[in-house]
Subunit: 490 residues, 2 copies
């Protein structure tokens, strides 16, 4: 894998001076085109051997292009994240459409170094690699241009580089004891790097290994690669939504999980009052448990219109100290959110340790309203299932309890509630023309819901289907399920 | 001050049960009106004596109103801010128009407790109070509805409350050793609180002291106060921009600081090259100084169109490691930014310790383009001078070096550069119709610039006026000034 990067590539000064100005002008032009058209974001990773010029390459990119439209992310790999999953800090700084994010120290850093030091076993490392593959696949599927450079030096080359830097007073500080120690571990580093690069070099996000010895060669190679990739994407004709037939087939016998629900389960008012008190008390006690400070909870509410999501949420919040929870109403995305992958706005709302985020509508909008209304293409919502599963798995693995509710009412019950809302002055704002239009799409929504439940009810994050024709029954079911899930996690 | 809050206010259950449902419905209705019209944000502070029901009040608000549109902020007062000024964490969570932010633990907490413990002297405490007054004035001037509740208990009342809580197993955990210690310090707490409340109870953001003994009285009082204030603001007819004549008078002899600048200072190309190398090297060395890790730097660029801001910024970034700086191009605000005070988007971009933020155009837009184009009213830009001074003072006091450049070119030089840009294909995108239109407003901009410099060149954050007809001269002046400022701070 590193063979071509140990050939002693060199570019003489004359050629460099001839080519560099042209490259620079072309890069700048391409960058401004991107800034104007905002068609996609660019994500550039710079990894590789210490001393091979990672910092210099980063600076070169910032010098050639306009740094006002580049975000440099030199993340301390162990930076504080207050209980969010490891990928959270990278999600936070994803560049919006039109901008470029350069990462020195990326999602590869921690898995790589841990594996080199033998802190993770092969199976764990493999799982981390799979995770990275899914993340990058999501990025490119969402339209990002992902460019990954690995700067390489032979063992001799690295030693020479360290010696050179150590000779001059001005650069001596750059070679640390750790660097010398890593030089002794060179072979181990290379072995892990080879494996990692091979496994994560995909068609959409390939690695380019660049020999780091000669600065001019390295710079021109990186610069030219960025330029070519940018130009290719900028000049690409606008392709209509790829609509390969990748959809789902409705149940052929017409029997669906939703239809099988017994929607009419009821609870008597007196029973409800007593049980409500008990379950709320239980929930409150659980969230004051010492160990709760090490957990976080994500509660997701979806359901038919007028199924009573708001009422159920209130029965939860009533039970909790307001310092513990945040309720997040999910409506149309704003400017900042629209310019990034659709999961971005949910990542930014993840709870800290010891806290509960309650989402009123969720990331499932992608496979519900966006699917049914045709706001995204079929391939987009088809891939969303696994992206969402992956998102929730990351949460679950990170001590976050994920509890998801689908509240279902019957068509007749919905009609009744709509009519009631229309008739009650202070509830009228809760019903819009769109709600009425959605009723015509009842069947399409049912298919979408069934697919969603089949494809995203996982052991980490199962769906709870709640028959909700009776509000009392639904609320108790929600409270009990949430309390059970937290209890199990403590 | 606390006299009325020790009268033993009580509301009997019957009255409460009669009034509560109506209050609740009215509150919810007002909240939804606010959510829909997005006219202003609501900021509610809940402070007071421990045991007087701060948490309960917070929960009550969240129960009466729709918690989906309330952000609860229970900030750990000493939360990590990586080198930003103390107010940064509050700016971050300011609610947007239409939403409500409730603070338990606010900008009062740290100054208050430090003063009680004698960690700050009276003068320092007074300065902190002034700071708070300016902050709240800014909030209300920007349109926020600010409501401040102080829950009070007499010494006896507090003791009784602690004893009551300690008796039951379910509530015992709520009374800590610190609480008992604070009870012993009751008089000191009251003395400081009285002073603080008196000084910060203003016409636009008054404190309401509420007796905390009786839960029903406390709840109804807080709820009714919120409702009245909300209704008053919601029902207010839309007032046209108050335009009291508060503007500035142009210099009566026509002599301005801008006209006095010698714009034609030049530097020879050879001298430039040598000096550029030297100053860039110097800047680089300074940012690698051990002590630099304790500083941060905010560099602000303003100037005539085509004065060479971009070129000067590049000469700075060339000298720096890309991991050290962020360049922030300031254009029109996005949705999230428009819904908050105009300084919000700059607060959110403040550098961490050891880093440099370079703003290409800045918060001075308020007193430049917004003033000249009439995007905000005269009172709004008049008050901006002191708001900005206050912002920069907070930065300076917090180990942030603030360096501000105004790059000035002559009218003729600007015309020349515009023509050049028009003629050069890859520079054409840098010039718009608006740039041409702005030339007609040359005099209005000059007045605005002179006022800005007179009113915001402070010892903490002085302006550097840079004659920029000669690009070489301007760039060196910028580099030298920045390096001097950092050197002085180290």
């Amino acid at each position: 894998m590193f063979e071509s990067a140990e050939l002693g590539h060199e570019i003489d000064k004359e050629r460099y001076d001839r080519e560099e100005p042209e490259l620079r002008a072309a890069l700048l032009k391409a960058q401004y085109e991107l800034v104007d058209c905002k068609k996609f974001p660019v994500v550039i990773l710079i990894g590789g051997v210490d001393g091979a010029g990672k910092g210099e390459t980063l600076n070169q990119i910032n010098e050639w292009m306009d740094p006002r439209h580049i975000q440099t992310n030199a993340l301390r790999p162990m930076a504080e994240d207050d209980g969010r999953p490891p990928m959270w800090k990278f999600w936070r700084v994803l560049p919006p459409n039109g901008k470029t994010g350069v990462f020195v120290g990326s999602w590869y850093s921690v898995p790589f170094i841990r594996r080199v030091y033998g802190e993770t076993k092969s199976a764990r490392f493999q799982a981390e690699i799979d995770q990275i593959l899914r993340f990058e696949q999501m990025l490119t599927d969402e339209g990002a241009l992902v460019l990954k450079f690995w700067l390489h030096l032979s063992k001799k080359g690295q030693k020479k580089q360290f010696e050179k830097l150590s000779r001059k007073k001005a650069t001596r500080w750059r070679v640390t004891d750790t660097d010398w120690k890593h030089l002794d571990m060179y072979d181990k580093f290379q072995e892990v790097a080879q494996h990692m690069l091979r496994e994560t070099s995909t068609a959409d996000a390939p690695w380019l290994v660049v020999e780091g010895t000669d600065e001019r060669y390295r710079s021109l190679t990186v610069g030219q690669t960025i330029l070519d990739a940018l130009r290719r994407r900028l000049d690409e004709p606008k392709i209509p939504h790829r609509n390969r037939k990748a959809g789902t087939t409705p149940s052929i016998d017409g029997v669906s999980i939703i239809d099988r629900l017994d929607l009419d389960r009821v609870v008597d008012k007196e029973v409800y009052k007593a049980e409500l008190d008990e379950q709320q008390g239980r929930l409150n006690t659980l969230t004051r448990h010492k160990k709760f400070e090490k957990l976080s909870v994500v509660t997701a509410f979806e359901g038919s219109d007028a199924a009573g999501k708001g009422g159920s949420i209130r029965r939860i919040t009533q039970a909790l100290d307001a310092r513990r929870y945040t309720v997040i109403p999910v409506a149309a995305p704003n400017d900042e959110e629209k310019a990034r992958p659709y999961l971005w706005r949910f990542w930014r709302q993840l709870p800290e340790r010891g806290r509960i985020s309650i989402f009123d509508r969720t990331w499932y909008g992608r496979v519900l309203v966006e699917r049914v209304e045709g706001y995204c293409s079929e391939v987009d919502w088809m891939r969303a299932y696994s992206e969402i599963n992956d998102f929730e798995e990351q949460l679950a693995k990170n001590n976050t309890v994920v509890v998801k509710f689908w509240l279902q009412i019957s068509n007749e019950e919905q009609l009744k509630r709509f009519e009631e809302r229309k008739a009650t002055p202070h509830k009228r704002h809760k019903i819009t023309d769109e709600d009425w239009r959605n009723r015509d799409k009842w069947d399409a929504y049912r298919s979408a819901v069934c697919d969603m439940i089949d494809r995203t009810s996982t052991e980490h994050a199962p769906w709870t289907l709640v028959p909700a024709n009776d509000k009392y029954y639904a609320r108790l079911e929600v409270l009990r399920t949430l309390a059970d899930a937290i209890e199990a996690a403590l």
